[in-house]
Symmetry: C2
Subunit: 137 residues, 2 copies
DNA sequence: TTTACAAATCGTAATCATTACGATATAATA
DNA sequence: TATTATATCGTAATGATTACGATTTGTAAA
């Protein structure tokens, strides 16, 4: 998802596109991977001195609710990234830089068949490791 | 894994098999699914009045380190279960009761091929929903 | 069985991520 | 530009987890 798409969603749902919100979106638009609240805060502090924790967390949760961001629990911390709007897929996640690589393989159809009578609401398939770039450094 | 196996591992690594530790292991041996530190504490308080948070968390982390328990981040909280020692598989996890059902399908071989040059350390494949038993209640 | 000591536990405080809230400021629009 | 609902600030509260000095307890050797 890009900036314009995200701002459109916000306005569509009656939320204001404030300067801080746009800056947060811009951060994620360029991140290309998962980021924590702390990452976002550190970046936002360089743009808006004295910005509140509340603003960061409130907006992260808002973005998650309206489908602008997607989230995953990693090392006891929530991580956020721009929502993928292309076809269903999963991610390799680099433990060093948080960047992701798409993984198109997903066995959920087969799995669902083996879980008759179970109500399936969601699933997570994540691969963890170190990306080629971080292996060099 | 069963009690005896777990106790064997503890002693093998030079840790003491105390009464509290055995009771924690017994709890997990009968749990058949994921449990949080709070669950464990609530159970242990019925057996040992005034048991410390420290004891619960220290031992949970110890069990994780030595491979007696496996752990997953869920809803911002660590969840623990007895380590599966049978062949490689994944889990359906019931959001209500925490119990799991084995899922034997895993596409990691294929996935690894599509990630040449990426160092793969680990992966997680979890299916979330409600088990047949909890759907009735 | 007793002794000795490393390891385990207790009691409690500290830390870290996250959420909450009243007061104030601001974006949207009329 | 005036209005008003929404967003933000400043800060306190919460909840999970970790930390640590003092005390107790398994374990194994004497």
């Amino acid at each position: 998802m890009n900036m314009n798409e995200a701002i459109r969603i916000l306005k569509e749902k009656g939320y204001k596109a404030t300067g801080r919100r746009k800056d947060m979106l811009e951060y994620f638009a360029h991140a290309d991977g998962y980021r924590t609240a702390k990452h976002v805060l550190q970046h936002m502090e360089t743009l808006h001195e004295g910005i509140s924790f509340d603003t960061i967390y409130r907006n992260l949760n808002l973005y998650d609710e309206v489908g602008i961001l997607e989230t995953t629990d990693l090392d006891g911390e929530k991580h956020f990234r721009m929502k993928c709007t292309t076809s269903h897929h999963h991610h390799f996640i680099c433990r060093d830089c948080g960047k992701t690589k798409d993984v198109d393989i997903c066995p959920m159809e087969e799995v669902a068949q083996s879980l008759a009578n179970y109500r399936i609401d969601d699933h997570k398939f994540e691969i963890y490791g170190v990306c080629p770039t971080c292996q060099i450094g």
